[in-house]
């Protein structure tokens, strides 16, 4: 689904190098690495918000450099680490915004749109939140709403920037479990960054780590926390 070839990610100077890597549908990948090593920048690059320094990323066999935001909105959805809620914005309306790429000129929701929104709501088990305002629910609930919004966007790829950073332990496990089942049950390609090394190892989630010496992104099957910490943080 996402193919990297000699990709250099960064701003003026490359931060992160990916020689060759394929991320497939039905898989979940957790990006692990020290602060400032380019996890967020990588997610931005997949979303077309940051140009590559060199090399290429192909999404669904099309170069990201040749895709505009309209095209990308049908391929990749993005969830940020924190959604603070917006005054007067209802949860249902927030999730409905995920349908923006599909609605008509005036943004009118069709019955198909409502079905997809309700499907996302049911999958995440947040039906009880539908009529609430995004400002009157908890951080954990808001994060579930953001994932529902990304789901309603019906993209083959969902990227998430530290989606568990502001959650308590129970909610971290809950969110990661939901993401894992989205990958396997709905054949999505899910890429998220995280600092929750313990939970990810416990849950057997495939890990991509950024090596602190070479600044390369490396796929690993290791289950050793100490080895990962050594690679990522040089400790």
């Amino acid at each position: 689904m996402i193919e990297f070839k000699n990709t250099q990610i960064g701003y003026q100077q490359p931060l992160l190098f990916i020689d060759e890597l394929n991320l497939n549908s039905g898989e979940i990948h957790v990006l692990i690495g020290a602060n400032g090593k380019g996890k967020t920048t990588l997610l931005k690059s997949i979303n077309g918000l940051q140009a590559l320094v060199s090399g290429q990323i192909e999404i669904d066999h099309r170069l990201t450099s040749a895709l505009n935001h309209k095209d990308l909105s049908n391929l990749v959805a993005f969830v940020s680490s924190k959604f603070d809620g917006i005054e007067h914005l209802k949860v249902y309306d927030y999730i409905a915004l995920g349908r923006t790429p599909y609605t008509n000129l005036f943004g009118r929701l069709s019955s198909e749109d409502h079905i997809q929104i309700q499907h996302a709501i049911n999958t995440l088990g947040i039906d009880y939140l539908s009529d609430k305002l995004t400002t009157e629910i908890s951080d954990g609930e808001r994060q579930l709403c953001s994932i529902a919004r990304a789901m309603a966007q019906e993209t083959p790829i969902i990227t998430l920037d530290e989606p568990t950073a502001f959650l308590d332990y129970a909610n971290r496990v809950k969110v990661l479990n939901i993401l894992k089942s989205l990958a396997t049950d709905q054949q999505k390609c899910i890429v998220l960054s995280s600092h929750d090394i313990d939970i990810c190892l416990e849950m057997n989630l495939p890990i991509l780590y950024i090596d602190s010496n070479s600044n390369h992104l490396i796929k690993t099957n290791t289950t050793s926390k100490s080895l990962l910490i050594q690679h990522c943080f040089g400790m």
Binding site: L49, H69, S73, E87, H88, K90, L97, G98, F106
Partner: protein, 330 residues
């Protein structure tokens, strides 16, 4: 649309002709409904009553509706664009841009600039230029409070220049400009209503095409980009429509403060939604209702004192805005 939204909009829609009726009939000279009917459908210019309806009452009512709705829509557009509930065409200096351009035109004494088209043209150009100046600042000034301060500084700067122009202009043109600057709905003549209505309808028409991107823009610029919204073009289109609506009002009524700031906030509190279809319809109706009410007050006070409409909107609007700020802090 939710049932609650529909009910509120229908109530506002029903209130509109009721208030319009009060607005038309509250003047000092009593008029019969036959006078109104004849003035529109069976006009004879020898009848003073009909003349009064046609030349004063009706244009004033239409202007109240146009100005109230336009400023409210312009405020809504600014608030969503800058993601700032305290933004508005007046606060961000877009009105002052229009004022400055009109001042330059009228005080120059060149007759072309005091014609209808000249006046609209000047106000639109002024509003547009200052709209883009604010937009330019917004790309660097990310903090919403700082952006408001920049807008207020732009406003002070332009009024200083306007004052400077006044000191060097002739007594005649100064009088014209001073009266304009007090803001009023009754300077509009029947002959101008046509062009005003055309611009007004154009502004509203294009606003409907912004509903979808505005809904997304509530999430922020990056999030909207990722939903496929062409944010760069959108920013420019929003500024152009805002300038059109705010410039139009400023050209014919002078500065009218607080409508563009208070009404969009009132709509959000009343409708409790970020759906811009509801908000747009709400702002059109509530903006018109608000300004008609203010002008009824102006007319009611006319036997005793002449109060400019700008004074009424500020007396009502400023405390409401302070209330909004306090409510947000709480």
């Amino acid at each position: 649309m939710e049932k609650r939204h529909r009910i509120l909009l229908i109530i506002a829609l029903v209130l509109l002709p009721v208030l319009a009726y009060f607005h038309l009939t509250i003047g000092q000279i009593q008029l019969s409904s036959a006078d109104f009917y004849n003035a529109v459908f069976n006009y004879s210019d020898s009848e003073t009553a009909q003349l009064l309806v046609r030349e004063f009452r009706l244009p004033r009512l239409i202007m109240a509706i146009v100005a109230g709705s336009s400023l409210a829509i312009a405020g809504m557009l600014m608030q969503t664009l800058f993601n700032n509930p305290l933004a508005g065409p007046y606060v961000l200096g877009i009105n002052s841009g229009a004022s400055l351009a009109v001042a330059l035109g009228t005080l120059s004494g060149i007759s072309m600039f005091s014609s209808n088209i000249g006046l609209i043209g000047l106000a639109l150009i002024g509003a547009l230029v200052f709209g883009f100046i604010v937009l330019g600042f917004s790309l660097f000034v990310r903090n919403s409070l700082s952006l408001l301060l920049v807008g207020i500084m732009i406003g002070s700067f332009t009024s200083a220049i306007t004052s400077l122009l006044q000191t060097i202009s002739s007594a005649d043109s100064l009088k014209v400009f001073t009266i304009w600057g007090m803001g009023s709905l009754q300077q509009v003549e029947l002959s101008q209503i046509g062009i005003i209505t055309v611009f007004f309808i154009l502004g509203i028409f294009f606003s409907f095409f912004l509903i979808k991107p505005l809904n997304a823009l509530v999430l922020g610029e990056n999030a909207s980009l990722l939903l496929g919204v062409p944010v760069k073009n959108l920013r420019i289109i929003i500024i152009v429509i805002t300038a059109l609506l705010a410039g139009l009002v400023t050209a014919f009524c002078g500065p009218i403060a607080f409508v563009g700031l208070a009404i969009p906030n009132l709509c959000k509190m009343l409708f409790k939604t970020q759906q811009h279809l509801v908000l747009l319809l709400g702002n059109i109706l509530l903006g018109a209702l608000f300004l008609i009410s203010c002008d009824i007050l102006v007319q009611g006070l006319e036997p005793f004192i002449l109060v400019p409409i700008n004074v009424i909107t500020s007396i009502v609007g400023a405390p409401f805005v302070i209330f909004i700020i306090l409510k947000r802090l709480a």
